[in-house]
Structure formats: C-alpha cells, structure tokens
C-alpha cells in the first residue's frame, strides 16, 4: 500500500468518526443539559431533608430517606398500585391497539372514520378528558350508570369505591391512549413490504393467516417499542389520578408518581420525594430489562 492510500484510508476513517460525533452531539447535548443535569440534582436531593419553599435550609441526612421508605406503608402501597395499573394497561392496550391497527388497514368502507375515532381521544389533553370522564363516572347521575340501569344492571360506584376506582381509571386511560399505540403499530405495519402480502394472497392466504405469519413476526420491533413506551408511560401515570381521585379512596389509586407529587408539593418534603422517585426509577429499569428478556424469547421461534 502506498502512503497516499494510507492517508486516504486514515482520512476516510477520521471523517467517519467525525460524522458519528456530529450526528450524536445534538441528542447527547440536549439530554445532558435538560435531563441528566436535573436528574443528578434530583438524586442528590434524595439525601437531603429539604423543602422547595426554602431550599437553603436543606439538611444532609445521608440514607435516612431510604431507611424511612422501607417502613413507609404508603410507599409500598403506591408501588403495588403502580404495578396493578401498569400491568393492566399493557395487557389491555397492546392487544386492542393491534386489533384496531390491523382492522383499520383493511379496505372496508368507512374504516377511515373508525381510525379517526380511535385516534381522536389521544389529541385532547388528559386533564380535560379526565374532567369529562369524571362526570360520566358519576356514582349516582353519570352517563355510564344511566346506561347500566337502562339495561337492568344496578348502578356502580366507579371512582368512589376502593374496589373499582383503579379499574375505572384504567378504562379511561385505555380509551385515551389506545389510539397512540395504534398509531405506532400502524407505522410499523406500513413498513412491511407490500410484496409479502401480494405473494401470500396469490397463495390463497386470508387476513388471519397473513396477520399470523407475516404481520406479527415482522412487527416485533414495533411491538417492542410500543410495549416499552407503554410500560414507561404507565409507570409515570399522574394526571387522571390528580384530576379524578387524588389517590383515594383509601389510597387505592395512589400511584408512586402521584405519591412523589404529594410528598414534594403538598407535604413539602422534596428530599424524601426525590428518594422515592430514585427507587421508582430503579424498579422501572428492572422491569424494562425483564421485558426485553421476555419478549426476545417469545418472538424468536
């Protein structure tokens, strides 16, 4: 090899690395400044006894917040509530979203309306929708109870009962969010080359076979993305609880993020709130890793 060739190769290699550098830079810079920086502060706050109303009086207390957490029944209850909500959300929303996405790919008259209808709730802010659902869930004079009594079912307490409150919030979230999961899955479906469907339909495969043998296997990356996104967002559920139940009745809808909010902004214990959220994040990391493991085995047949 001549020296000029070597220089050329070296030059190309340098350019290659520079390209990587410049492509990653905006993302890394943005995340470092606006997410990691604040995160570092939040983790640090977890070792302090502090309130936002006078951060200068903050006291370093070491691991005391974490020790307190171990004995805090509300914290454990909130973790359990979060698990119930997130588990329910993922198990219900993904299948629904997939069915709706596949359905809305069919050439049926009027399917565009269905697609728009499913997507519509994702567009309006949860805070507004929670107010409206709150009224529909009214234990005595709500829309749902009028319908139930109309078909001979006794009225239900919904959000005002410890046994139904979380399920009621789940149904609202499902209605609100299934459109965005559908949107992600539609994007994934669109990426599947059309030739596969054409080839298989020549072979006489019906929609069901096509879904089973083409769509699902080729959609697994998208499914994984939708699942991780869904898990992470449902772990962070806050707005419907803030608007509709404030964590009650009897604390059954107090999710961990709502508890963090209560601790920080109502009980003025930002230090403890930060410590609780650090633990929540660790739980989320563990769950995300488990999901990857699980999903990998499930789809690799």
């Amino acid at each position: 090899m001549t020296t000029t060739d070597q220089a050329l190769v070296r030059n190309r290699r340098r350019n290659y690395r520079l390209t990587i550098f410049w492509m990653m830079l905006p993302a890394i810079l943005g995340l470092a400044m606006f997410q990691y920086g604040p995160l570092v502060v939040a983790v640090r706050n977890g070792f302090f006894d502090m309130t936002l109303l006078n951060p200068e009086r903050a006291k370093f207390i070491g691991w005391a917040n974490y020790i307190k957490m171990a004995q805090d029944a509300r914290f454990w209850q909130s973790l359990r509530n979060t698990a119930i909500y997130s588990g329910g959300k993922v198990l219900l929303e993904l299948p629904f979203a997939l069915i709706l996405a596949v359905l809305s790919q069919q050439a049926i008259k009027g399917i565009g309306i269905v697609r728009t209808a499913v997507f519509a709730p994702t567009v309006t802010a949860m805070s507004t929708m929670a107010v409206i659902w709150n009224m529909m869930y009214h234990p005595q004079n709500g829309l749902f109870n009028s319908i139930l009594t109309g078909v001979g079912i006794p009225p239900q307490p919904f959000l005002t009962s410890a046994s139904q409150a979380m399920a009621s919030i789940l149904v609202l979230s499902l209605w609100k969010d299934v459109g965005s999961s559908m949107l992600i899955l539609l994007g994934g479906l669109q990426a599947i080359p059309e030739e596969f469907y054409e080839a298989s339909s020549i072979d006489g495969a019906g929609p069901w076979e096509q879904t089973r043998y083409i769509t699902l296997p080729l959609l697994r990356r998208t499914l994984l993305y939708a699942m991780v996104l869904l898990t992470v967002t449902s772990f962070k559920v806050f707005t419907p609880i803030y608007v509709m139940t404030k964590g009650g009745p009897l604390g059954v809808t107090r999710t961990t993020v709502y508890y963090v909010y209560e601790l920080g902004f109502k009980y003025l214990q930002m230090g403890y709130a930060s410590a609780v959220s650090v633990i929540l994040m660790i739980v989320m990391i563990v769950v995300a890793m488990l999901q990857n493991r699980l999903l990998r085995t499930e789809f690799e047949y």
């Binding site: 890394i28 920086g37 640090r44 009214h138 004079n141 109870n145 404030k246």
Partner: protein, 490 residues
Amino acid sequence: MSRKHLVVAITMLLVAAMVAGCAQPAPTATPRPTVAPTKAPVAQPTAVPAEPGGAFMAQLRKDGYIGPALTTENITLRMLRTSRQAYEEALYKRWNEEFMAAFPNIKIEEEVIPFGDLFQKIQVIIAGGSPPDAMIIDGPFVKSYCYFDILAPLNTHVAAEYLADYVPATFEEHTCGDMIYAFPHQQASCAIFFNRDKFVAAGLERPPETTDINAGWTWEQFMEAWKKLTVTPAGAAAPDVWGLAPSEFGAGGVGSNYYLEGMYIRGKGDPKAPKDSEEWKTYASISEDGTDVKGYLDSDLAIEGMKFYQSIFQVEKVSPTAGMPNSFPDQRAATVLGTDAWVKRIQAANASLNFGVSPIPHYSDGVPFTHGGSTTFAVTKGAKYPNEAFALLMYWHNLKNRIEFHQVTGSLPALISVFAELPYYQKLPDSLFQATLVEFAMPRPPGPGYSQYQSVSDLAIKDIGLGADVASTLHAAADELNGYLAQFKK
C-alpha cells in the same frame, strides 16, 4: 480514534450534566430599599422636593404608603397572579395603566396562571430563586410563607392607620408574629343558598333569610328538609333532585376542600370554652403553636361532626357522593353551601332561579361556624423592587379602588370602612355575608403546616364521606399529620 470521540462525547455529557446539576439557584437579590434620587429639582430649592409620581404619589401617601420614594430608573415590575373574570381583569389592567402613567419608568409585567396550580408554581419559582416582586397567595398559606421567610412585611411600607382598618379575621390570618404580610384584598364567608320554589313544592317551611345568624336553622333541621327535598323518580335507581348539592370547591364532591368540610368539624366546638377543653380544641382545630392536632382534629366531638357529615351521603343519601357541576343553578339540588361571590355566578348561570340565602347552619348543640379567608396579595422577600411593588399594591388596595373592586366582583371586602361605602351591604343577601364574616368567620387552621393540614384532612374527609369508619380514619389522619407538623416544633 473512535474511542477518542466516544470519550470526548461522554466527557461532554458528564461536564454538561455537572454544569447543569451544579447550577444552583442564583443568589436572590436581597431587598435593598431603593434610595430616593438626591437630585432634587434645582428650580425650587425651598419647596418640599417633589417625589417621582407627583400628584399620584402624593395621593398614594395619603392612602397609606409610607415607604421610600420610588425609583426613577427604568425598571420592570413582575407580578404573579391567577386568572379572573373578564370584568375583574379589566380593573387590574386599568389600575396598572394608571400606575404606569404616573411612573413612566416603571413597566408592569403580569404572569397569569390557574388558581389550582398556584401553590405548586410558587414553590417552583421560590426554589428556582426567581420570585416575582409581588404575587397572589391563598390566605391560609400566609403563615406558611412567613415561616419559610418568603414574604416581606407590610409594616415598613404601609401606614398603621390603614392596617387598623382590616376586618379582624383578615388581620388575624395575615399576621405572623407582630408583622402583617398581606394586603386586605377580599374576604369570603359561607351561607346556605336554597331554591325557594323547591321548598314550596315539597310543602316545607323556608329557612329564614336574615342577618341574625343564630336564628338560622340547625344542621339537623336541614337534614329533615333535605330528606323531603330529595326526589327519586319512580323506577329510577338514583335521585333526580338532591336535597344538598355536592361541594363545588376544589375538585368537587366529598373531601373537596377543607374550607367547606372543615365546618362540619369545627362547628361542634365552642370558642368560649376553656382552652384545655375538648370543645375549645375542636373549635380551634390545631394547637396554638400550630404543631399538634391530636385531640383537635380527632376529638370525640370532631368524630360526631364527621358522623353527621357521613350520614348525609351514606345513611340519608340526600347528596351525591361525587361532584355535580352547577347542580344548584340547574335545579338538580335544592340547597348549596356557597360563598358571597356565588350570588353573582348563580344568577349568571340561571337568571330565572328563585333562590334565597339563609345563615350557615349550626349544630343544635354547637355554634355557627364558617371559614373565612380568600386570596390576597403580598410582596416577596426576594423582590427586586420592593418599594415599587408595595406602592403598586397600595394603589390597587386604596379605598377608592377597593370600593370599585367589590362593586364589580361582588366579593366581601376585607377593610371595615369599605362596607360603609357599599349600600348593598345594608340589605340581604349581602348583609348576611357581612354579618357572618364579622361575627363568626374564622381563618383556616393557623400555622406553617396548612398545606399538610389541608391535604391530610381532605383525604380523610373524602374516605369518611365514602363510608370509611369515622373514628379510626380521623385518628389515623391526626397521627399522620402530627408526623408532618413535628418539623415546626421549636
């Protein structure tokens, strides 16, 4: 080389994270009284040196401003407040314009946010080290803000005569130690609104419309009336018309806001009983130093009061367990507990509604009780321009502007002399709210821990309204609250 870039990238990430992480709140400007410019007008050395602002400022001094002269530098005054009705917004706009016309060097910038997020917003801007010069605050939080050293006292900038004009409940609420920290913006008191037609239709005698609060009906009397006023259509699973409307405070429904539901507890007590008695403690709602609620929030009397509250929803079922917006103006409820400002709003929602206002109910074995307190304005301790902020708020709160404000909004004045200037306080229903405020209104539980107090008791009251065991719920709430209040012990 690839590794080198990676290292560079990660280093940058870490550095950026550190920089961002270490960005401590910038040191807040300490309130430094702006010294009046010494270059007095040369043309008239013997005359009293004219202050910036001229006649406007002279009037402001008559109104009660005693602080230093305002700056002549170009400044921007920052104000945080909550959104208001259009007619009220117009007032602020005009006052600000008048103020800026007198002081062309001062620019007022207002930030307007929803009331529900006010407390959180204040916490963030305080933690961020960027408080506005002046801000709206909720009355019961004054002592909290004072404890955390966020507000600047009025005494240095406002005349004592002006402070002496406060309605007593307002004065009490806005005071911390021997200083007063908020302007007499407005007050609120509660009464019971009732639909006259519905009482006639049910064949009931109507509750008295009077300013004699002791002559008002008892809770027990109302319960009997509510039972008859609650109408369930044949075959329906739930009433169509309710005796008592659910709360429209806060989030609505049971446990919506201590402002309303705390009355069911504190009304069981007695302010005249000895201070170590259960009656006094129940009425006081919290120990005098604001750190103990055991035996106050969960006394036997408090439990009795909450049992009555629970029976409204669970035994007699005369009120729905969840919020129902506008149920009173929509004639879906025959009575509603509301404040003075609701007269206007109910009329706006249903102009043809035939309603009366009767004194706040009391227990047959208790005294009339209502919470007072409303939103108010204060200057922050970290204000860049405290003098100008005090002057602006003084202008908003001078007698002339107060009279106009209450005429426009219909809210209760917090200055005694304003009542005399408003003829409608001579007749019902406004006279009733005035009498209730002056004779019976109490601030919400005083002390630096009001946020905790309200949060814990709201949840407890909600659970009770939905059927939880009263005694154990209140005891647990009191224990929990005492845990939060321990930090305020000296």
